[in-house]
């Protein structure tokens, strides 16, 4: 059965970037406010799932040539290594630090090592959610 999916395809092209931008905002918002790697990652994977719904697997694979299993593994590696950073500096595992950096265009920004850990979480969530969707949806 071939559905006429012009509406969803056109909408996706607009909405996708809004969702992705918002997910990145949520991801960076996570240190002091609601948000973080988990929810940002889920939102990103929702965006990519929307892409999968509108187009087919081959197209999405061409746009995003990423192996999601490798993405999951690198996320885990980043999170673990960030935790071990504390050990390197003589503190306990998972201890974090933060500092204020002056960036051009953004002004004074607080950067925390917890962000790196959250980046790992983000990768793991995106990778595993999309691996699951690929696994269920891929063989139909």
């Amino acid at each position: 059965m071939k559905l006429n999916d012009i509406v969803i395809q056109t909408t996706t092209k607009f909405v996708l970037f809004i969702i992705l931008a918002f997910s990145i905002f949520i991801f960076f918002n996570g240190h002091h406010h609601p948000g973080g790697g988990f929810i940002g990652g889920l939102m990103t994977s929702a965006a990519i799932t929307l892409l999968l719904l509108a187009f087919d697997f081959e197209t999405v694979k061409r746009i995003l040539p990423i192996d999601f299993k490798i993405l999951t593994a690198s996320g885990m590696l980043i999170a673990t290594l960030t935790g071990m950073g504390g050990l390197v500096f003589g503190g306990p595992f998972l201890s974090h630090t933060f500092g204020y950096v002056h960036l051009p265009f953004f002004g004074e920004v607080e950067l925390a090592t917890a962000l790196l850990f959250d980046l790992g979480v983000y990768f793991v969530v995106v990778g595993s959610a999309l691996t699951i969707i690929e696994m269920i949806g891929g063989d139909q």
Binding site: T72, A73, T80, M84, G86, L87, G91, P92, S95
Partner: protein, 494 residues
């Protein structure tokens, strides 16, 4: 000073993550996994000696002091179990190399293996009840993957039930944590122990919660009447995975009961520990009935896992020095010997091509080493001196008679005899007897399988002979169990 507690978790975790990147490079994965397990072993040996010389080790995660943050605590009980885990996984890994098959190895077998080990070690080392739930989930999720790994029809069928049972018990765990948090207001185990010990009036709700935790951990540790899922699940996956489960997973449940019933729920031992003792006795009886009744060699072995759970829990329920020491000796012995027996039975089934006793016979004619190793393993399991089961059982009996649980001691001896009967039946019919197959008709080889088995048997013999050497460590572990203040002070006050 290096903190070996955290490295015990990081080594298997990192090994698992690294191997996620290289699923196709089988030889490289094997090399990494064996190197990682050897480093882990060295690390845990150092940990045990550090605990012995410097007292309880701890690691405050993220620098948050207890009771606010999550803490990892390495006391001697955890240390000994961690060391035994590290010892047992090496032979199982070597056995996997030649038996698990390249197809499975390419599907992240070693990664999941190490994630499971991380979860088990974490559950042994954590000092926080909710963190224990998290580590339980880590090894449970890995065990879900391993039990269905390769997805044969039988595995799919059994794993669906296994996953369902464990999801329910996890939900119960969360509920138990919720109740405990509502009543006591903390989840740090040392802090829980301190607050419960300082209660002035009796709190019946705590007894309810204690029994609820007994159900939760009992589902994992397969005590009566919650062992029903175990026989089918543990026989479904390949031998190496079955050995890993039989050696480690039920022991985590036992350890959790051990820990919670010696440090946290000590407010009403007359009730809770009696229930534990009765359940331990029933576990022995029903386990041994299953072992005697079955004609399938894998099932016989799996029911013997359940009997051992009963023995250890009986030691816990006595709350005496000898009982605790016996339980610790026995749990260490059981981890080693159950892994050995799973591997032996796996080799037997591989060679004989069947798991039914009636269809096999005379294997010893062409595989003398396998047969005699099996006999030694059986003797060690039953506890014939000087093999490893002996000292544990003697201490358990001593502990039982101290508190006057004569009938359970009697049941234990009967159960031991029946265990001997059930296992020696495999030897007489499967190995001895008349040959069914000629050497050419055999269904597989024992190539590469004998070395890991002999490693485990050697360990078991060493544990029996070197019991004297191990004694000071067991004594340190028992001291902490008998005087929870030692644990509480080490975690909260220093």
């Amino acid at each position: 000073m290096t903190n070996y507690v955290i490295w015990t978790l990081l080594i298997p975790l990192l090994a698992g993550i690294i191997m996620l990147f290289i699923p196709q490079r089988v030889i490289l994965q094997r090399t990494i996994s064996i190197i990682a397990s050897i480093i882990l072993l060295i690390n845990t040996v150092l940990l045990v000696f550090q605990i012995q010389t410097e007292g309880i080790q701890k690691m405050e995660l993220g620098g948050w002091a207890p009771p606010f943050g999550i803490i990892l605590v390495g006391d001697m009980l955890s240390g000994l179990l961690v060391l035994t885990t590290a010892l047992v996984i090496i032979p199982i890994l070597i056995y996997s190399f030649s038996s698990i098959g390249v197809e499975r190895e390419k599907k992240y077998y070693y990664s999941i293996f190490f994630f499971l080990v991380t979860g088990v070690l974490g559950a042994f080392l954590t000092g926080d009840l909710f963190n224990m739930f998290v580590f339980f989930e880590v090894f449970l999720l890995s065990s879900y993957v391993l039990i269905v790994h390769g997805s044969t029809q039988k595995q799919l069928r059994e794993s669906f039930k296994y996953v369902l049972i464990n999801i329910l018990s996890s939900a119960l765990f969360v509920i138990g944590v919720a109740y405990l948090y509502a009543v006591i207001g903390t989840l740090n185990m040392a802090h829980l122990g301190e607050r419960i010990a300082s209660l002035t009036e009796p709190a019946p709700i705590l007894t309810v919660i204690a029994l609820m935790f007994l159900i939760i951990f009992g589902l994992k540790g397969a005590i009566f009447p919650l062992y029903f899922w175990l026989p089918a699940s543990y026989t479904a996956p390949p031998t190496a995975i079955g050995a890993l489960f039989g050696a480690l997973l039920t022991k985590v449940g036992i350890y959790a009961i051990f820990r919670t019933y010696s440090i946290i729920f000590v407010h009403d031992p007359a009730y809770t520990h009696t229930v534990l003792g009765v359940l331990a006795a029933l576990t022995m009886i029903f386990g041994v009935i299953g072992a005697v009744a079955h004609k399938d060699v894998t099932k016989i072995l799996v029911y013997n896992v359940i009997v051992a759970v009963g023995f250890v829990l009986f030691g816990v329920s006595t709350m005496t020095e000898a009982g605790y020491q016996g339980a610790i000796y026995y749990v260490i012995h059981d981890m080693i010997i159950k892994a050995a027996l799973f591997l032996l039975i796996g080799a037997l089934v591989t060679v004989g091509g069947t798991k039914y006793l009636k269809q096999m016979g005379g294997i010893i004619k062409y595989h003398p080493a396998l047969g005699w190793l099996f006999l030694v393993a059986v003797f060690a399991l039953v506890g014939i001196p000087p093999l490893s089961g002996f000292i544990g059982k003697v201490l358990l009996i001593q502990g039982g008679t101290t508190v006057g649980d004569y009938w359970i001691v009697f049941l234990m001896m009967v159960a031991s005899l029946l265990v001997l009967y059930s296992m020696i039946r495999i030897f007489l019919q499967g190995f001895y007897g008349k040959s069914v197959l000629s050497s050419k008709e055999e269904h597989g080889t024992t190539k590469g399988l004998l070395f890991p088995i002999s490693l485990l048997i050697a360990l078991s013999v060493l544990l029996g002979i070197g019991a004297e050497f191990l004694y000071p460590f067991v004594q340190t572990a028992t001291e902490v169990l008998l005087q929870p203040e030692l644990y509480i002070n080490a975690v909260l006050k220093e």
